[in-house]
């Protein structure tokens, strides 16, 4: 169950390779959430390689850490990270979104490593609350993590759960916000403004940490240092939608844009350069 030791350099290199794999997957599937997948990939990379006490061998252990991806539409990022960690063969990903494939466009428990079926927004946090409560009842050592989108915070169920998690003093619960500030229609502040997020979550009784969601050291520290006793932890991970591919960064159309062959080639070349930079 121990996380495997990995340096920041190695993580950065791995992240670029995973971004390449994700883009190839999306092009092959002909569908996917490109921008959000790229924005949350570093978070998943750190979670699965440094933080979560879970592995393919321990996935049925009742004491494993739980991760539920509330922003289920960014499943492609999760798929490539799980395949890289050996939960299933990478070749399985050639079937994503294909007829009769179990690899559909949102997370399902039919896939090794995935805890719950998600995709409709505003569901992950309440589910994780139930998991965290079960852990407390059994005095079990596991922690429960969920990943939310900032557009997703407009769903009222998140705020029901925000209130209840603090009420039940669930310090084994961590909600990570992939704060890329863009959603399908445009800037989140224009669609439904939600700031100031730190003050809101603090006022609900959570420990709040604001970090750079692409910085491995900051992510590692925020995700591993326990919150004060009795407080659930909310991590505002400031991210860039489309991160890692210059022409996709902060461009709304890449929310679920599928790259052309030429765009894919350009993106892969750029990520090749990133891998090269971190290998020296």
């Amino acid at each position: 169950m121990r996380p495997i030791p990995i340096t920041d350099h190695e993580l950065a290199q791995k992240a670029a390779a995973l971004r390449q794999r994700m883009l190839r997957l999306i092009v092959q599937a002909g569908a996917g959430h490109t921008g959000g997948g790229l924005s949350c990939l570093d978070i998943l990379n750190v979670l699965y390689n440094r933080v979560l006490r879970v592995s393919p061998e321990t996935f049925t252990d009742p004491h494993r850490d739980r991760y539920v991806q509330s922003k289920g539409h960014c499943v492609e990022a999760l798929y490539v990270v799980l395949a890289d960690r050996g939960f299933f063969p990478d070749a399985d990903l050639d079937t994503v979104c294909r007829y009769q494939s179990r690899y559909v466009g949102h997370p399902t428990r039919k896939i090794p490593g995935i805890e719950m079926n998600t995709g409709a927004l505003g569901h992950g946090l309440p589910i994780c609350l139930g998991m965290a409560l079960a852990g407390k009842m059994d005095a079990a050592p596991f922690r429960v993590f969920t990943l939310l989108g900032d557009g997703e915070l407009a769903e009222g169920s998140n705020w029901e759960a925000a209130m209840a998690a603090a009420h039940h003093r669930l310090d084994n619960l961590v909600a990570i916000l992939d704060h890329n500030t863009l959603q399908i229609t445009g800037h989140t502040r224009d669609v439904m403004s939600n700031e100031p997020l730190d003050e809101k979550w603090r006022a609900f009784g959570w420990e709040v940490r604001t970090i750079n969601g692409h910085d491995y050291a900051e992510l590692t520290r925020a995700l591993t240092e326990p919150p004060p006793a009795g407080k659930p932890l909310f991590i505002i991970a400031n991210t860039v939608k489309g991160k890692g591919v210059s022409f996709m960064e902060n461009v709304g159309k890449w929310h679920h844009g599928v790259p052309s062959e030429a765009e894919l080639a350009a993106a892969l070349a750029e990520l090749d350069a990133t891998i090269h930079r971190f290998s020296t």
Partner: protein, 343 residues
């Protein structure tokens, strides 16, 4: 709920008035939870209306309060169940199955966690409170969601048996019932185990099986196929009809899904007419399920659905609403005579 004539018929038939199925549920769950600390109740400020205050007092660590937040209630129940808890989400059926429908569909049914949802005070139990508090849609919407067992017990016995089964379930389950005191439909009638072909006078778990109709009374002129707390009215009507030379079969369809098609087809083939009875909209519930089953099997029989029509529901207490729409001994007996004239 019952007219003097209906009470007299109940007495004549030897039926004993029990407690509300709601009370039976609460007592059963508490006794199961005392023996198994993995059993957890989740309430949305509903422990009082769910009669779970004694449960909360006796087993405070096994009751999770989420406040008035039904979406959160279902999500939390799903998360608890996914982590090995035998979780019962308890909330008025009207809120549970409408406001949190997406959570039921995705977090419980699609994710396939063994959570149990308990819809209290279902149908028109909250009669006079109005349509906000009625759940006349729950069977219809939940039947259309894959991977959910749907149960509406008729009496205390069926409630106890359903909760006992729910505490062992490996699949998602929904159970609905009301809060009026119920006659024990299981106490005197000879219950035949249809599949085993044997008769049982001794009422025990052997005569209850999830997904299997219970034949509470035999007869071949007409069949009442009823679910939940309308079964007693069908049973009383059958008693009245017997005195008028009509032999009526009474089926308790406590499990609405999975659907015991064999028992419905048998009734349709052996009886001259079929009446379905439910505390639910005429749309999408037991009646339409029976009609589809009979029609697709080529069984043509005079048929009537007694349920709440698609209109602004009449105002009044549950008993008023039942009588208004013919869900009563007198109403059902009259419907039987009318239908048999067509047979």
């Amino acid at each position: 709920m019952f007219t003097p004539a209906a009470k007299s018929m109940a007495e004549q038939l030897g039926l004993k008035l029990g407690r509300a199925n709601l009370d039976e549920f609460a007592a059963t769950l508490q006794s199961l939870a005392e023996a198994d600390r993995n059993i957890v109740a989740v309430t949305s400020d509903s422990r009082g209306s769910g009669k779970l205050a004694p449960f909360g007092k006796a087993l405070p660590k096994q009751l999770v309060e989420v406040g008035i937040a039904e979406q959160n209630l279902v999500g939390i129940t799903a998360g608890l169940a996914a982590c090995g808890k035998r979780a019962f989400g308890v909330s008025p059926s009207c809120f549970l199955t409408a406001r949190s429908l997406e959570q039921i569909k995705n977090d419980i049914c699609y994710s396939n966690v063994p959570a149990v949802l308990v819809g209290i005070s279902s149908g028109v139990s909250y009669g006079a409170l109005g349509s906000t508090h009625h759940s006349l849609h729950d069977l219809a919407v939940l039947r259309a969601i894959h991977n959910l067992t749907i149960i509406a017990p008729a009496d205390n016995f069926e409630t106890r048996a359903a909760i006992q089964a729910a505490a062992r379930t490996t699949k998602p389950m929904f159970i609905r019932f009301g809060k009026a005191a119920m006659y024990d439909c299981s106490s005197t009638f000879q219950c035949r185990d249809e599949r085993a072909g044997r008769s049982e006078l001794d009422i025990g778990m052997s005569s209850y099986s999830v997904g299997q109709v219970r034949v509470l009374r035999d007869g071949n002129d007409l069949a009442f196929i009823a679910t939940g707390e309308t079964v007693i009215h069908a049973l009383l009507a059958a008693g009245q009809l017997a005195g008028q030379g009509v032999s009526a079969r009474v089926l308790s369809m406590h499990t609405v899904k999975p659907f015991d098609a064999a028992a419905v087809l048998k009734a349709g083939r052996e009886c001259r007419a079929v009446i379905t009875v439910e505390e639910h909209s005429v749309h999408g519930g037991l009646g339409e399920a029976c009609a589809a089953t009979l029609l697709q099997a080529g069984v043509s029989v005079p048929f009537r659905i007694v349920a709440i029509p698609d209109e602004d529901t009449v105002t009044g207490a549950q008993a008023d609403i039942f009588r208004h729409y013919g869900i009563s001994m007198e109403g059902l007996a009259e419907a039987a005579h009318t239908l048999l004239k067509r047979a």
